[in-house]
């Protein structure tokens, strides 16, 4: 015998309140915000609040443990008058520009190598990630030892194989060498991020495209410029975007290796911000240093994301 829908017995044992909550949660308009709220609260607490506080501090004469007053953009104007800040500004662009450039070139090269059939493929791919996995301060201490003026293993090796004249370069004590040293460590540290991200994109490129190009007579060089690179562009844009921001705001490497020296020639925004904000107590100026490039970075993010969107659609 067929049973009509309206004849199905409805359970009457369910409490009315629970039924009502369950009914609300069935509606997307309510369920969505319920799911999003915890994440939103976390963002507000961990990102928005510190950011707003940093902006407030940068516009005030805040000093550790003392009442502060709003002073407008005076901190930003005064900073520009300081020789150490102007030097830091220049350093940040040199450091980021050179490091990101080498990370792109070496990252693509490494990814292409890793994409080839190699022995111990998985082990090598895992090992490539090591610099990124080890805590930065710890690995930088290793580099500090390698560049140390008293027992530099880099110089010892260079002298032993006849590449350098004794005593070898004073890596952390001369301005250009010191910058070269901090850039080298940054490249070493950031390379795995580029290599693995690019490798992921390389793996996703259909093999048929290469086969078709090969059939048309394209050599390896042509295949790279006309197939690989154009298809890597969206991933490269995102990786470069993240890396630029991370490199601009680097702290550990410079702090451990040179503390901004010699004569401020390796200071970055984060290290100078620490000196002013923490060591000297001038929180307002320290915050202003760290936020100086915020408008520029926002523009870079906007431009890059726009580019990525264009590439995607």
């Amino acid at each position: 015998m067929a049973i009509r829908a309206d004849e199905i017995p409805v359970s009457r044992g369910r409490p009315r309140g629970t039924a009502r909550v369950s009914g609300w949660l069935d509606r997307e308009r309510i369920l969505g915000p319920v799911f999003v709220t915890p994440a939103l609260l976390l963002l507000l607490l961990l990102v928005a609040y510190p950011f707003v506080m940093a902006v407030y501090f940068s516009l005030s004469n805040a000093f550790i443990g003392r009442p502060s007053e709003f002073i407008g953009i005076r901190n930003f104007v005064r900073l520009w008058d300081s020789d150490a800040f102007r030097q830091t500004f220049q350093n940040a662009f040199v450091f980021t520009g050179v490091a990101v450039f080498f990370k792109i070139v070496m990252g693509i090269t490494l990814a292409l190598l890793l994409n080839e059939q190699l022995w111990f493929k998985r082990m090598i791919r895992g090992a490539v990630l090591l610099p990124w996995v080890i805590p930065t301060a710890l690995s930088t201490l290793g580099w500090w030892w390698m560049f140390n003026s008293l027992y530099s293993v880099v110089n010892w090796t260079g002298i032993a194989i006849g590449l350098m004249d004794p005593p070898g370069p004073n890596w952390l004590g001369q301005r250009y060498y010191a910058m070269a040293a901090v850039i080298t460590v940054n490249i070493w540290r950031g390379l795995p991020f580029f290599a693995i991200s690019i490798l992921a994109a390389l793996v996703a490129i259909p093999k048929e495209l290469y086969e078709a190009a090969e059939a048309d007579g394209a050599n390896a060089n042509a295949r790279f410029w006309h197939i690989t690179l154009p298809l890597l562009k969206p991933v490269l844009a995102v990786v470069v975007l993240f890396s630029t921001i991370f490199t601009f705001s680097d702290f550990n490497i410079v702090y451990v290796l040179t503390r901004g020296g010699p004569i401020n020639s390796t200071h970055l925004f984060a290290t100078l911000s620490r000196v002013l904000g923490i060591d000297t107590g001038r929180i307002g100026e320290g915050a202003a240093v760290s936020l100086y490039l915020f408008p520029l970075l926002v523009f870079v993010v906007w431009a890059q994301l726009r580019f990525v969107r264009k590439q995607a659609y």
């Binding site: 003392r66 008058d81 020789d83 150490a84 003026s149 004590g173 001369q174 010191a178 020296g261 929180i283």
Partner: protein
């Protein structure tokens, strides 16, 4: 199961209600507890002794003491800044150099404790006074100090028949010989505090200063600074290695311990560590007084103090701990002895302390310290003098000069930067 009687129930309920209404826990059974944040001492035995004294303090007074350590300088300042900003953390903190000036509004007035200590041990030394006596009030209690003396390889000096220097000029004479022997002079000229600890006394000995006594007038552009820079230039060229431009606070210690440097300007920590680690260089190391110049002998040191945060809810027990550690002569002596002459008493009557007789190589420290000053002297410490210090304007001026900038331009650069700091 034990049954609760009606009487017990009523007593307990009334008690809890009373506590809740008053918002204050009952005194009985309430464990008084204080926490103390200090740095990892360069003489590690001193930290062990501190823990031991802390346990005795708890036993004698019933006040539980928790001692935490933080590594020196960088992490220490971040920790203090975060405690002040959040108004939470330790009750007591060990403070270096000018910290009491930096955190002045956040520190309890401890003049009562210092007055008691001074009555007992004599006046606190000049450098401690300069560091912890802020605008007429003691904001921290002078604890100990570690003075900068000359540490040299006595064995090498004897081998080459070199005379122990008495002035900075004498050091140039022996330094040339030392460098020829492959054992250069090790004075850092980099962005660290040891660089300032030497540059300050050299400048003062030539009659110069960064900022005048008024704390407002920049005085770096003077003939004395020219003399000082010229001295550094010839030292860098003839007596030192370029590596000093990248040195950290520990590098000069390491250099003499590992047998490279023949002379360094430092507290006795290099020798203490060499002795403890049984390094081959330990036997050859000795000390002599810091050096003088045309305007006399001026020295610096790194005084330490103990401060109590205003947000602490245990100010009295915290003071009790300071009185226990520093106010009881036998306990203070025990603490000082454990530091092996790195931590020296910072009160006048204790200058000829028994710790200086534990090793003949501490003879140079006897009677020293009274004339010592903190960074930035003769300007009174302030947040601006602190900024001049922390941005390493003095060593950077010297580094510029020894790496090719003319003396005149280096001084002009430092003068401009210092003026901007004071005007800001």
């Amino acid at each position: 199961m034990n049954r609760v009687s009606r009487r017990q129930f009523l007593t307990t309920s009334a008690g809890i209600a009373g506590i809740l209404a008053a918002g204050v826990p009952p005194a009985r059974g309430q464990q008084r507890e204080i926490s103390y944040l200090c740095w990892n001492n360069f003489a590690p035995n001193s930290d062990k002794k501190l823990a031991e004294i802390g346990q005795r303090f708890t036993k004698d007074t019933g006040i539980k003491l928790k001692i935490d350590h933080v590594s020196h300088m960088g992490p220490q300042q971040s920790k203090y800044a975060s405690e002040v900003q959040t108004q939470a953390g330790h009750d007591l903190v060990e403070m270096r150099m000018h910290f009491p000036w930096l955190y002045e509004p956040q520190l309890v007035d401890v003049s009562d404790v210092v007055t008691e200590l001074e009555k007992k041990y004599g006046k606190a030394l000049g450098s401690s006074y300069e560091g912890a006596h802020v605008n007429g009030v003691w904001r921290a209690v002078p604890q100990y100090h570690g003075m900068f003396v000359a540490t040299y390889r006595e064995d090498l000096f004897k081998q080459a028949s070199l005379k122990v220097p008495d002035t900075w000029e004498d050091l140039y004479t022996v330094g040339k010989e030392l460098k020829k022997m492959g054992h250069p002079v090790g004075i850092p000229i980099s962005q660290n505090y040891d660089s300032i600890s030497t540059a300050g006394p050299v400048l003062w000995s030539f009659g110069g200063m960064e900022v005048d006594k008024d704390g407002k007038t920049v005085r770096i552009n003077s003939p004395a600074t020219v003399q000082m820079i010229e001295w550094y230039k010839k030292m860098f060229r003839d007596c030192m290695e370029p590596e000093v431009l990248s040195w950290s606070d520990a590098s000069n210690n390491e250099s003499i311990q590992q047998g490279k440097a023949g002379w360094i300007h430092n507290p006795v920590s290099a020798y203490i560590v060499a002795k403890q680690r049984k390094l081959v260089t330990a036997d050859g190391i000795n000390h002599h007084r810091s050096l003088g110049g045309p305007s006399g002998r001026h020295e610096t040191d790194t005084p330490r103090h103990i401060g109590i945060w205003k947000f602490s809810k245990n100010v009295e027990p915290a003071k009790e701990w300071i009185r226990y550690l520093l106010g009881k002569r036998e306990v203070y002596d025990e603490y000082i002895m454990s530091g092996d002459a790195f931590n020296l008493p910072t009160y006048e009557k204790l200058q000829d302390h028994p710790v200086l007789r534990t090793d003949p190589k501490y003879a140079a420290l006897r009677g020293e310290g009274v004339q010592y000053h903190t960074y930035g002297w003769p300007a009174p410490p302030s947040d601006k003098v602190q900024l001049i210090t922390n941005t390493y304007l003095l060593p950077n001026m010297i580094a510029k000069a020894v790496t090719g900038t003319s003396t005149k331009d280096s001084i002009a650069w430092a003068e401009t930067e210092m003026k901007k700091v004071l005007a800001g």
